[in-house]
Amino acid sequence: MHIETLIWLIPLPPVLAFAMIVLFAHRSNRLSHFLAIGSMLISWGLAMVVFGNAVTTKDLGHHPFQVSIPWLPMGETAFRIGVMIDPLSAVTLFFVAWTCLAIFVYSIGYHNFGKPRDPGDRPGLPPHAGGIEPMYARFFAFISLFAFGMLTLVLSDNLLLLFIGWEIMGLCSYLLIGFWYGKPSARDAMVKAFMTTRVGDVFMLLGLAYLYSATGTLSYREILFNEHVLSALAATPSVIPVLSTAGMIGLLLFIGTVGKSAQWPLHVWLPDAMEGPTPVSAMIHAAAMVSAGVYLIVRFFPLITAGWHEGGALTPTMTVIAFIGAFTALFAATIALAQNDIKRVLAYSTISQLGYMVAAVGIGAFVAAAFHLITHAFFKALLFLGSGSVIHGVEHGARETGEHLDPNDMMNMGGLRKKMPITFWTFLIGGFALSGFPLITAGFWSKDEILADAFAHGHWAVFLTLALAALLTAFYTMRQIALTFLGEPRTEAAKHAHESVWTMTLPLVVLAVFAVGAGWAGIPEHFPVIGGLLPNWMHEFVSGSLLEHPEALEFNPVPLLVSVAVALGGLTLGWLAYRRVPAGGEDPLKRPLGPVHTVLKNKYYFDEFYAAVFVRPAYWLAETFTYRWLDRGVIDGFLHWVGRTALRVGSFLRNYVDLPIVNGAGDAVGEGVKRSGRIIRVIQTGRVQEYLIIGVVFAGVLISYLLLLRP
């Protein structure tokens, strides 16, 4: 069997599982999750085979596995739909497969499979008494479809198919965030997420169309691996004077990324998306969707950086991207400082980490961005699942003690280290990876890569911003760990919490292994001690996706030291600050920061700001302007006037034209026919003889005429 055939087959099992669950299997929970996980297992196996092939293939970058078929005829050309495996999609496929599989397995335990269904549970509401999820089968159907979308996006060889997968994921995130549609907050969150990402998607679609009109194709190879196309795009100016066509397209696509990956200013939906079940959070915010956004710009790195030479000045597009990325990184990190909801903290950290990647792309650090994408996917998925496990434990404790509290609030936790050791250790690994604990964790290597790149090319602003963000990251990570696991239990529920089932802990362990090991694939070879023990495989492999390989950076101690310092410093500060927080004690940061803390806690009032600036005007526009004035007043008025006029015209026509003239004529004809008929009918006696007489008389007349009168 050819490898391409395998690639075709990878996305199919989940969608088949989706269809089968929705159509047939939704009555049986067990059958449903067997279908979903079985299909995901098949996809995972295929993906691993493909990945193995890809890794062992020489010079994959220039000869990727690619197969495509014409799909949508467009005049003389046709949209081709196909699959491609090049280094970038290979590594992406790798972590997507792993994380998705882990999340699938995790979902079983998370939704209390095997517990009896609690009679009090209603579909659309989270099970409050630890019973099985009422819409268990539906959940698996949705995440299967989600996995299908993600795999499609990763494997596609052109922008159109990528966009299709992209939108499938958008739909699924909408459905999954609102999975518990009984909760008003979930409803609002789903609508918010959908709307916000819609903004980005519209621009992305614009960019797509622009790209197609400019190049006449959407295939990666024909655009990104084509020197002439790139240079032409870079040379031709676009509608906006300062931007070249390439820059314009890149910017539009990047706005799509901003929406999908929740970059500032479209980041607001991501924290609210925490309303969904935790596996969904992990799925959306680690494995799939947000990664998809970054994957898009990383994939289109050659287009974005077209006209830029390594070490040269950044193009306007790159500047914008770098700025937004760096700013988002810092901004989100600051918000994360003041959040108490364990998942919200992770959400904001996700935003800031994505900011790292975006900034990396902005400054042209392709390999670093891809590297951090992978490592981040692993340890962030780990963290989310861990937090879910923690919440599960606390909920369990709350059910036992029967006290009503928010199981997500870290202030209600503490001292869970002894209660749930596996969760603790895996969470610790994830946290250290996030905060970039030196040398061992994956996060250190990837983040250090970015910093080093920024430093090496002299983007000071970016470098400093990211360094500060790294410090804050380490700090709030430690804060989270300390508040959750260290110290003494601050509530009864925390006391009675205990470890989750194996289906939840096993994925944690697996992901923890990757959270540590994934980094070793990309150790720079000039690193002092351990450099060169392992070849910088990541750099060699992934950079194959580009036309000309960026050369590896020469070693520079400054960024290394900085990153080590910020990581360790942040961790220690956080540990010192939150080592022991008493029950009911307030956040130690509150006093020193003062009002700033409130601002941070309220996320810079961004939601309120948007509500004031966009939402309420939108309401007003819809309610008052459009509905009242335009619709009621203008359009309806006009229509009513037209209707009344038509009515008058019609009555006039009826009374003065139709009745007298037309009907009169018709009646006249009818009456005439009737009268003449009444006159003539006497001829038609129905007696054959008389007919015959008439005929004979005429025949006689005719004969006599023929014989006598005719000469």
């Binding site: 009918r681 038609q684 006696t685 129905g686 007696r687 054959v688 003889q689 015959l692 007489i693 004979v696």
Partner: protein, 102 residues
């Protein structure tokens, strides 16, 4: 010898008598008889022309034979119709058989 015109006049008279009967009688059977008379007149003409104009050719008598066949079938069907009409309406007076009028 007899001139041809005698036969023709005789045939014409017979035909017109038959015609009058076909047009004037009330009884359908009488009409049928009158039609037979007309057919006979036609036959007389045919045979007379054969005899006087072309005794060599067989056409005159052949036509006469065909006329016989037609007359026979016509009589058969007509009489059957009358029987069934009589069964249904208990009359054979043609002016009472006027279902075909308005």
């Amino acid at each position: 010898m007899i001139p041809l015109s005698w036969f023709l006049i005789f045939a014409a008279l017979l035909f017109c008598v038959g015609l009058y009967g076909a047009l004037a009688r009330r009884n359908a059977i009488a009409i049928l008889m009158a039609i037979e008379l007309m057919l006979n007149a036609v036959n007389i003409n045919l045979v007379a022309f054969w005899r006087y104009l072309g005794p060599e050719a067989v056409s005159g008598q052949a036509f006469a034979l065909v006329v016989f066949a037609v007359a026979a079938s016509e009589a058969a069907v007509g009489l059957a119709l009358m029987i069934s009409i009589y069964r249904r309406r208990h009359t054979v007076a043609v002016e009472e058989i006027d279902m075909m009028k308005w």
